[in-house]
């Protein structure tokens, strides 16, 4: 798949802080559209089945209602959902993407209407070819409707608070008996090394077992070289435990008792 030219959209606030929005690619958006299309079909079917009771009463009215239902659903589904769910439809929700204003501002109703009505042009000549082509060429992966409405589609930032508990378990740390060595450790290691260490431990479950063992051995050896803890503190420790102790020693508040 061809990636959009900029995978992120950087917004710089007047306070001088920059934050970036991760732009959604064509495949995620196309899948979301597929889901939404399926949902509209199902809803249309349900409505039509309900109204088919009228069939015996007036066939003409039933046909008229079915034509209007399908049209309203087709045009209004995205508009309504994006409006009440702050830029998400069912498909977008499932694929964790969201429509946003291209300047990071609040999404306006007119923008939602605009980007959805413009689908008539984006879906030309079939299956959103025009929109897809526009996405490849536009700077922020926007289809024509997004360009006109000044919107982007981004991956939803997962509002997850970092879990440090997993990193710093309340376990006995044999290094704590050697405060002077811990102090040396804090002084010696660089931020980059610590970040590497933290990440290696945080992503424990995402690593292959073999790769994990190898990585932790390499890291542990590296930290053993920097500060040598006495035999009785490190004996019997696995590489992973050694690294956890190291992190604990670095991050623990100096005055904190065990």
């Amino acid at each position: 798949m061809i990636e959009p030219r900029n995978a992120t959209l950087a917004v710089r606030t007047p306070e001088g802080v920059e934050f970036s929005l991760l732009l959604a690619g064509p495949s995620a958006r196309f899948l979301a559209w597929g889901i939404d299309f399926g949902v509209t079909l199902v809803v249309a079917l349900v409505v039509l089945t309900t109204f088919s009771i009228l069939q015996s009463f007036s066939g003409d009215l039933t046909t008229a209602i079915s034509i209007l239902t399908f049209f309203v659903l087709n045009t209004g589904y995205n508009i309504l959902l994006e409006w009440i769910w702050h830029g998400q439809t069912l498909g977008k929700f499932l694929l964790k993407i969201r429509v946003m204003d291209a300047q990071g501002l609040r999404l306006q109703f007119s923008q939602i209407v605009m980007r959805n009505l413009m689908r008539t042009v984006d879906m030309l000549p079939m299956l959103y070819l025009a929109g897809g082509a526009a996405m490849l060429f536009s700077r922020h992966a926007q289809r024509l409707g997004d360009l006109a409405a000044n919107t982007v589609v981004v991956h939803t930032p997962t509002p997850k608070q970092p879990d440090l508990q997993q990193l710093l378990p309340d376990k006995y740390n044999s290094f704590r008996s050697y405060p002077h060595l811990e102090a040396r450790l804090r002084q010696q290691v660089s931020p980059v090394e610590v970040a590497l260490l933290v990440q290696a431990l945080m992503r424990r479950n995402e690593l292959d077992p073999d790769a994990r063992v190898a990585l932790y051995r390499e890291l542990a050896d590296h930290f053993r070289e920097q500060v040598a803890f006495p035999e009785e503190a490190s004996a019997g420790l696995t590489d992973e435990q050694y690294l956890r102790n190291t992190v604990d020693s670095i991050f623990r508040k100096s005055g904190e008792a065990n």
Binding site: V11, T13, P14, E15, G16, V17, E18, F19, S20, L21, S58, G59, D60, L61, T63, A64, I65, I67, L68, F71, T75, H86, D101, A102, G104, L105, R106, Q108, F109, S110, Q111, V113, M114, L117, M118, T120, V121, L144, L147, A148, A149, N150, P157, T158, P159, K160, Q161, P162, L164, L167, R186, P191, V192, V194, A195, L196, V198, I250, F251, K253
Partner: protein, 343 residues
Amino acid sequence: MILDVAHFVREEQPFWQELEECLSRLERRLEQRMDLAETRRFYYLYRRAASDLARIRTFAVEPEIRGYLEGLVGRAYAEIHEIRDAPYRLKPLAWFFETFPQTFRRRYRAFLIALAAMVIGSFFGAGAVLLDPAAKESVFPVQFSHLQDDPAKRVEREEHSTEDRLEGARSTFAAALMTNNIRVSIFAMSLGITWGLGTLIMMLYNGVILGGVAIDYILAGQSTFLAGWLLPHGSIELPAVLIAGQAGLVLAGALIGWGSAQSFRERLRAAGPDLVTLIVGVMLLLVWAGIVESFFSQYHEPVIPYALKIAFGSLELLLLFAFLLGSGRKRGRRLSGKAAPHD
């Protein structure tokens, strides 16, 4: 020096949580206004989160916290720097009687261009049929095949038909007309993205068909039938199509930005609400036109006298233009006068 991440997070987390709660409240209840103290607190929390983000970016590689903070700062940024009112309540009546005609008048130039394109097209269509009656075949699209016959014959057939052609299908016909015309109008507006070319071509083409049909019936001496047939729905439908063209040209104007000091984005931002107002207005007009065309236009003398149909159509046209040119004028002036002391 090491930024003590655990310590940092432990210290800052309560503020982040407070900001998050604040944001959820704001995003859920758009009509809510904060008082001064709340606004101060909110702004403080936003700046604190922003500076935390700046620190975490500089001092440590922490993708998770960073992602979390970026999301938080992004949401707060949208709330703080947004100056447009949140669309928390729709006012359909005020919108229809004030915003829609006001927007139409503000963008009247685009309407005139669309009108000019259609008029030129209709002259072309009329000229083609006038010079070469055989041109009808290429001028009228396939779905209008019933127009290929001799108009006089059609009038005779319609006036003497004893059965109701649309019996039992009137609602279906109306629904099909509405959806089709609305779809075409949305398309005409969307084609504004081709710098207006597509919109203009659509207006021209509609004019060609209209001019061709009109001259064909006039030449056959059936002008009364023509007026009675087209006016009741056409007097709403054609202006609606023209307003859709107007919307497309407004979009094109924002894209091209001739002689405007605003940036591309600012121009689109300014045009957006107008476009939506125009196209939603078009949809409403077309719903009315669809009902009239199905339930009224297709009946000819002796069922409904032509004079009545023509009078009805002319009245509609008059009312529509009185509405578009006059509605929402006084109120707009009073509102702007009232707004001044507040500022």
